[in-house]
Symmetry: C2
């Protein structure tokens, strides 16, 4: 469930566009007005506002936001304003670049979006970058990481709830032959994780637990092995994404300094999807609400934007 809060009466896109244009005019920028509009419209509504803005002022709204805003607040507003598939294509593209590369973000996009959403990311990647997502991922990775990431971003998993229990048993056995012996990048392990439907993978992991008496996560306990950590995170994204995201948020907030990029990414990509469950999980694990944690660690317009997206305060 989404935390995004949309007012009962939503103005016409042309009206929103006009208000935004006013917010940019004059000496200062009216940041609160920008938040009041953009943080309270769904993807379709934001697209309509962008269209209306271009028609009225001959300019992409994102360009104006880029000129008027700065720093973490800018990134949060721009990322949220983007269409989800475009946004993911943008994040994925960044993640294949030298100084911003992140195998985790690529994995996260590949494993937590639906099959059709992931395909739409690949289409948006073509349109935006004149290349395919998988060719950039393959080009910027190697060895075991490539073996895992390329099929993850290329997958079009079946999404039905049907489960084949015979298969679940035989594949749980395969995993148990490989994982405890630390053959984490074995081609069969990668095949199972990268191609099976989420329902089927869940059944296999339950079967692993039933047949061998312990959770696969115990056998994948994070060590210093970078590949193992990524594999473990992928399995969590595929089977319990809210736990994965709650953990990413926690790590972004605690410790010395805040990881604003991670915080912004998770809030902007999940506000319209499953942020309600992520917040519950966050609260359960950390005995503090996500709103409180964000408020304690951020400030100014950036704080206001994030809090609006996670559903704090009034519409």
């Amino acid at each position: 469930m989404a935390t995004l809060r949309i007012p009962a009466h939503v103005p016409a896109p042309s009206e929103d566009a006009e208000q935004l244009h006013k917010a940019f005019e004059g000496w200062g920028t009216n940041e609160q007005l920008i938040i009041d509009i953009l943080a309270h419209r769904n993807a379709a509504q934001r697209n309509s506002i962008r269209k209306a803005y271009r028609e009225a002022y001959g300019k992409d709204l994102l360009k104006s936001l880029d000129e008027e805003l700065s720093s973490d607040f800018e990134r949060a507003v721009v990322l949220f304003t983007l269409d989800p598939a475009e946004r993911d294509a943008y994040l994925a593209y960044e993640s294949t670049k030298k100084f911003t590369s992140s195998n985790y973000i690529l994995m996260e996009i590949a494993c937590t979006r639906s099959s059709y959403e992931l395909f739409n990311v690949r289409r948006a990647y073509h349109a935006r970058h004149k290349k395919s997502l998988e060719e950039d991922v393959a080009h910027h990775t190697k060895g075991d990481h490539r073996k895992l990431l390329v099929p993850l971003v290329s997958a079009f998993r079946y999404e039905g709830e049907e489960v084949n229990m015979t298969l679940a048993k035989s594949e749980a056995k395969i995993l148990h032959e490989k994982i405890p012996h630390k053959h984490y990048s074995d081609e069969e392990v990668i095949r199972i994780v990268t191609t099976r439907s989420k329902a089927q993978l869940n059944a296999t992991l339950n079967q692993y637990n039933t047949s061998f008496g312990n959770d696969i996560n115990k056998d994948l306990e994070a060590s210093d092995d970078e590949f193992l950590k990524l594999l473990r995170a992928a399995i969590q994204c595929l089977t319990a994404p809210e736990k994965y995201f709650a953990k990413v948020l926690r790590e972004a907030i605690v410790g010395l300094g805040t990881d604003e990029w991670a915080l912004t990414r998770v809030v902007t990509t999940r506000a319209e999807v499953d942020m309600v469950r992520i917040k519950e999980e966050y609260h359960r694990r950390n005995s503090v609400t996500l709103e409180k944690a964000i408020a304690g660690d951020t400030s100014g317009d950036y704080e206001k934007m994030l809090l609006a997206l996670v559903g704090a305060g009034d519409v």
Copy 2:
């Protein structure tokens, strides 16, 4: 260019459906009438006929064809009547089964269809088989064949004509470091072949020729190595599909007995796409027209159906 010939005046789908229904009635089946209709309608028209047939007679046209026809003629009519994406999903599914498995057919579908067509095959595979294409391919292959085929069937290649010449040079060099040393299944070779756009791959192979003085096909000269043969065929399908198909047709026709499955597959899948070029290539290489070769090697209604699809005779 297609060899499919559609009459200037096409009857309404309901009329075609009624004629087909008549063709099935009484003692014998009117095979000529079936050919006259189904071998002379495009994919959209055939879909409309199937829909009209179901509405009028409460039965799938394919089921009636299956009951009324038999053997090679049945397979040709049924395959051609299917929607292209559905047909490919059906052929791919057969190709992962024990007794009909074929890595070549999987490769052929992956490499000769456009990116969107291949995606539609994957969608049709979900709908028809309640699984993903890539999970069946991965499950039924292993080792090097899996390493090549899974990314091939999962690809969503960029289809623009843009070419990066710097990349073409550096990747030609990579290929030349691997191929002459027989490292055919090297992960870099597979990455280049499975992820680059067809335009980019073409530029890389031209660069290979320019820089190193010989065609990559020379360095991939077919030996008894099954993987090498498949890799070579994949490269041909990606860069010169008409040559690949002309060769498959030739091999299906010459020799002891005819390989009707291959003949039927190529004719039914290419009649609406590029059969004109395949015929030219066939004629050029074999000094006999494809029509003549088919007529000399097949007979009866099956022959008539194939000849109609390759554009022989009147509409």
